[in-house]
């Protein structure tokens, strides 16, 4: 399982196409993040629009990305969320930690 990444200089987008509730999808996120981080992107946008289920393990992986970027003055953003994922982010107050990216 691999997630698609696209990069535009400083900014990169990771499109997560599986539910973030397993070791496989968590590892796929970690690999995709490492790829864009090592290529120099310090603004990373997570596109979770295909994700229906996320659990604390998946959120742990998202926060791992947040921590690495923050330590390097970078920023982790999310495309507008919906449904269960949005409610879970709000429940954990992650919406206050991760800004929403409205662009394409």
């Amino acid at each position: 399982m691999d997630f698609e990444t696209s990069s535009n200089g400083e900014k990169a987008v990771i499109r997560i196409t599986e539910d973030l509730d397993s070791e496989q999808s968590g590892e796929a996120l970690r690999r995709a993040f490492n790829q864009v981080y090592e290529s120099g992107s310090r603004t990373v946008v997570l596109d979770l629009s295909d994700v229906e289920i996320i659990n604390s393990y998946g959120i742990g992986k998202v926060l791992m990305c947040y921590k690495r970027l923050k330590a390097d003055n970078g920023v982790l953003m999310v495309k507008p969320l919906k449904g269960f994922v949005k409610e879970t982010f709000e429940l954990l107050m992650l919406d206050k930690l991760l800004p929403v990216y409205d662009g394409e």
Partner: protein, 302 residues
């Protein structure tokens, strides 16, 4: 809509000239419509026969729908009502809603709009009735599942009752996912912090190779029968419209935090640990720890 599922309703309306038109219209649609044209006969008809909904014209009742509904409810406490009012009677329509009418529609009556409104309300009533039937059927639901620690590490367990409640319309998909997630988080706590005796703070304790203590010890203990064969027992029940999960592990117990700890944003704890507990407390209506933290009970009102 199949013939045996056609709405059966009583229309209470004083304009006799139109009553036959109404009946004809609804009969053409295969609906079972009866018309009553005065207060007393309407009450008698509603009390003696079964109607899914009674639709009453406020002009007939002198704008006092409450007395009419109350009189019928003495015999039929669960009778559903809708009112018809003139455009200058909107306040009475609102008053009828406060007295328990499901909706009001304003004159002039448009038969097609009336048809659509009744269809919608009857469909909702039937869904509610089906949900109540399911809850009654499940009113003494009890199930118990026993797992070894190893069973739960490899495959996530979703209590089958959640699927049944969703299929029956008692909970929607989002609610099922939220309860399921809270349950999974509690189960994970019992496995990881209970039976495997792992501490969250070890996730931040790295060795020289960059491996964290939590993951390393977890992998090791899963192959140690002393830890991996410890059981987890899950009791699921429904009583008084409350869904309860009781999860018991065989670990040493732990100091459980109070819900108030999770009411503020705490970036440090969010980044390290506490996310599962925040999900549990934020989703369930009540959370109870017993036996030194070895038993957690999650309760959700349905």
């Amino acid at each position: 809509m199949a013939a045996d599922l056609q709405p059966r309703f009583l229309l209470v309306h004083e304009e006799a000239a139109f009553n036959q038109d109404y009946q004809n219209f609804f009969k053409q649609n295969g609906w079972n419509c009866k018309v009553a044209s005065d207060f007393e006969s309407a009450v008698k008809e509603a009390c003696c026969s079964d109607y899914e909904i009674v639709i009453t014209d406020l002009d007939l009742l002198g704008s006092d729908s409450t007395a009419f509904m109350d009189k019928i409810r003495l015999q039929k406490p669960n009778q559903a009502f809708m009112v018809v009012c003139s455009q200058n009677q909107a306040a009475s329509g609102i008053k009828a809603l406060r007295s328990g009418a499901l909706d009001f529609i304003q004159k002039p009556l448009d038969l097609r709009f009336l048809h659509e409104t009744i269809s919608r309300i009857v469909a909702t009533l039937r869904e509610e009735e089906a949900q109540l039937k399911l809850l009654r059927r499940l009113s003494n639901y009890e199930a118990q599942y026993k797992f070894s620690t190893m069973d739960l590490v490899s495959v996530p367990f979703v209590p089958p009752i959640l699927n049944e409640l969703q299929r029956g319309g008692v909970i929607d998909l989002n609610t099922k996912l939220k309860i399921s997630l809270a349950f999974q988080e509690a189960l994970t706590n019992c496995v990881e912090h209970g039976n495997l005796e792992l501490e969250s703070s070890w996730k931040e304790d790295f060795d020289a190779s960059g491996n964290d203590k939590f993951t390393m010890l977890k992998e090791k203990r899963l192959f140690d029968p002393k830890f991996s064969e410890r059981p987890v027992v899950v009791d699921c029940s429904i009583y008084n419209k409350e869904l309860t999960f009781k999860i018991e592990d065989c670990g040493p117990g732990f100091e459980f935090p109070e819900a108030s700890k999770f009411s503020v944003v705490d970036e440090a704890s969010l980044l390290c640990y506490g996310r599962g507990l925040r999900i549990i407390y934020g989703t369930m209506d009540r959370v109870r720890y017993e036996n030194g933290g070895r038993i957690v009970t999650l309760i959700k009102s349905l």
